[in-house]
Symmetry: C2
Subunit: 233 residues, 2 copies
């Protein structure tokens, strides 16, 4: 919303403001314009429709048109495509986050993780634009798009930690790693059978995450480096 772009917002405090400058006073008290609030909501609504249907590449001008606002208005409220994604899918990210919270009470911690991942697949299946949020959370690094990244990392991290402390899962995988792998698998949606394929692959993956029973730990985890990899090329 950013009602007052300048002024590093000192927050509702009359005294300091008065002292510092007149300018701040108006910034503090003036409430956001009604049309601005309305338009922002319209754009969000339109973006949800357009992104869910058309995926992350959808035209922003189409969004603006659908919302019945000018392209300039869209850009004022959401300066980048990413901002818009984050706003549109914030709720979904929160839902995933809450789901992780709930799953922490499940008996089997490994299965809890698996179920969380499966839910993630469903989200992506329903909302084609969701994958862009994942992409941004994962690809843009933690600084930008902090919200989604943090929430998702935390969600996956809590499930991971629980499984690790229970001794059910190997300890050398970070939540970020897992998030990236998950996102990567979801990314190749769009072919016919993608959903089933991803679910199969996730099962394989979760199986791989289980703590090795030491019986068949053969050559793995002896050397974290990559000794036997390349060969000439």
């Amino acid at each position: 919303m950013q009602p007052c772009k300048g002024s590093a917002r000192v927050q509702s405090n009359q005294f300091v403001i008065y002292i510092v400058a007149m300018d701040d006073q108006t910034d503090q008290t003036r409430k956001p314009r009604a049309d601005a609030v309305r338009n922002r909501e319209r754009v969000l609504e339109a973006a949800k429709l357009v992104f869910n249907a058309g995926g992350p590449e959808a035209s922003l001008e189409a969004v603006a048109k659908r919302a019945g606002v000018g392209i300039g208005t869209l850009y004022r409220h959401f300066p980048t495509r990413e901002d818009l994604f984050e706003a549109v899918y914030r709720r979904e990210v929160e839902q995933l986050s809450e789901l992780a919270e709930q799953l922490k009470s499940a008996k089997d911690p490994v299965d809890a993780l698996r179920r969380w991942l499966r839910s993630g697949v469903e989200f992506v299946a329903t909302k084609k634009g969701m994958v862009a949020t994942l992409a941004l959370a994962v690809q843009s690094g933690s600084e930008l798009h902090a919200f989604s990244f943090e929430r998702l990392t935390k969600a996956i991290g809590s499930l991971l930690d629980r499984a690790i402390t229970a001794g059910a899962m190997r300890a050398d995988i970070s939540p970020e790693d897992l998030l990236r792998a998950f996102f990567g698998m979801c990314y190749m949606h769009d072919q016919p059978g993608w959903q089933a394929s991803v679910l199969r692959m996730l099962d394989v993956f979760v199986d791989g995450l289980r703590a090795q029973p030491a019986a068949k730990t053969k050559a793995r985890r002896t050397a974290p480096a990559k000794a036997p990899v390349k060969r000439k090329r």
Copy 2:
């Protein structure tokens, strides 16, 4: 190159019989123009540079400019961006394919698969545009871009089959599944530590692929559904 596109061309001639015969004859013998051959090569060379550096999104007009040809010439030789990718990375795909062949003589079939996947990561790391080839092979379905898809599927399939028949790997995963998962993981490159992350995840994944020792086989592998061979396509 398509040297004789038409040939339904009735044109210039007096007898019907003449048409067919003459037509075929000239089509057969006329050799491709030297400038066409030269330009095609130039475009390929430029595309390799541009794609390796700029990734799959790079501008085709930049490629044309770098090659010193008009944009029309580029499009004539490679009607779609995908065609260009395939031509540029054909050799790389072949190399990966051959590597799979070599790895079939390794002792441990599971490890062979792992090594192949790791080599794939290296290819992607070196050539940023390579990921586009993977994307096309995986995403566009088997009909188009048949070359890369077939080669890669075959390569991964042969390694997979060997491991499965050796009883070292679960049998309910298809080469296509695996290829997609692999590509997906590679797709999220571009952050700092992506390569290490992907290698870790691939290890996890391959571990998950190992045949379950029946001790902890919980709900998995209820329906193998597909013979150990590749099936379909």
